[in-house]
């Protein structure tokens, strides 16, 4: 009956980003193939292959060792390592590509960014394996 406080850690390509992030969402989804037939009383489906999407937002930090340099360098490249620990201790890891990266400058607010990543490997880039729950 544990209730973990939000003390999340997130590392991408070996760079800890939790010192600039304020929200991380890991979405595990499974596409459902419709198999409902006329004889079925209820709708009927089968599970397909799972996927993991990683979405985050935080404060833009231009330092060379921080998120902006790390994410920008990963755009269009091969998948790199990710490690998400929701409670700062246990979590999930694997390899992911960057799908989008957006920087917002507003005259009356801090500079922020959002990034979206897509898991594509468990122990190597594009190996099609599940993330590790560790």
């Amino acid at each position: 009956m544990a209730r973990a406080i939000s003390d999340a850690d997130f590392v991408f390509n070996g760079v800890a980003l939790e010192d600039e992030l304020q929200s991380i969402t890991a979405t595990f989804s499974v596409p459902q193939a419709e198999i409902t037939s006329f004889a079925d009383t209820y709708q009927n489906v089968l599970a397909g292959k799972p996927a993991v999407a990683l979405n985050m937002n935080g404060f833009w930090d231009p330092a060379a060792s921080q998120g902006d340099a790390t994410i920008f360098a990963a755009l269009g490249g091969v998948a790199l390592t990710w490690d998400f620990e929701p409670n700062g201790v246990l979590g999930y890891n694997g390899y992911a590509t960057v799908e989008s990266y957006s920087i917002t400058s507003q005259v009356n607010a801090a500079i922020t960014y959002t990034a979206a990543m897509r898991h594509n490997g468990g122990s190597a880039a594009a190996d099609g394996l599940a993330p590790t729950r560790a």
Partner: protein, 142 residues
């Protein structure tokens, strides 16, 4: 661990400084993902395609000849132009103080994809613009 305010952001289009009329700049990089999932894969699988950048601008209307609207309108349907986006407005460019730029050269540079002027009766005259980058956008540190 820096937290930087957006109040000093700089943005220029075709060498015309327009941060004096802008109140928001959003630069977005998108990377299309090509699905490569095979029957043997446990999870869905994809590889990254070619990246592209676009910038969305929001500002107050300034119709002066040297300002944004005239400059952006002139860029519509024209060739590529150069842009510079400095989120923190830094003047001390370095590895920890980057800026983003696209430099007009051949097919590389920035196009004005859309320009929308709003003239509400109860508010300021303003505009939004979408700048589509073509070719390389650089994270410059020098």
């Amino acid at each position: 661990m820096a937290r930087i305010h957006g109040k000093n952001t700089d943005y220029s289009y075709n060498a015309i400084v327009i941060e004096d009329e802008l109140s928001q700049v959003v630069q977005t990089a998108d990377v299309p993902q090509a699905d490569i999932t095979s029957f043997a894969d446990a999870y869905q699988n994809a590889v990254a395609g070619k990246k592209s950048f676009r910038t969305e601008l929001t500002g107050a209307l300034d119709q002066a000849a040297s300002q944004g609207i005239k400059t952006l309108q002139a860029g519509m349907g024209a060739g590529t132009k150069s842009t510079i986006f400095e989120p923190d407005g830094t003047t001390a460019v370095g590895v920890n103080n980057p800026y983003y730029k696209t430099t007009a050269s051949g097919l590389t540079g920035a196009y004005v994809a859309s320009l929308r002027i709003s003239l509400p009766v109860g508010d300021k005259a303003g505009y939004t613009a979408t700048i589509q980058h073509s070719g390389e956008t650089t994270r410059a540190t020098s």
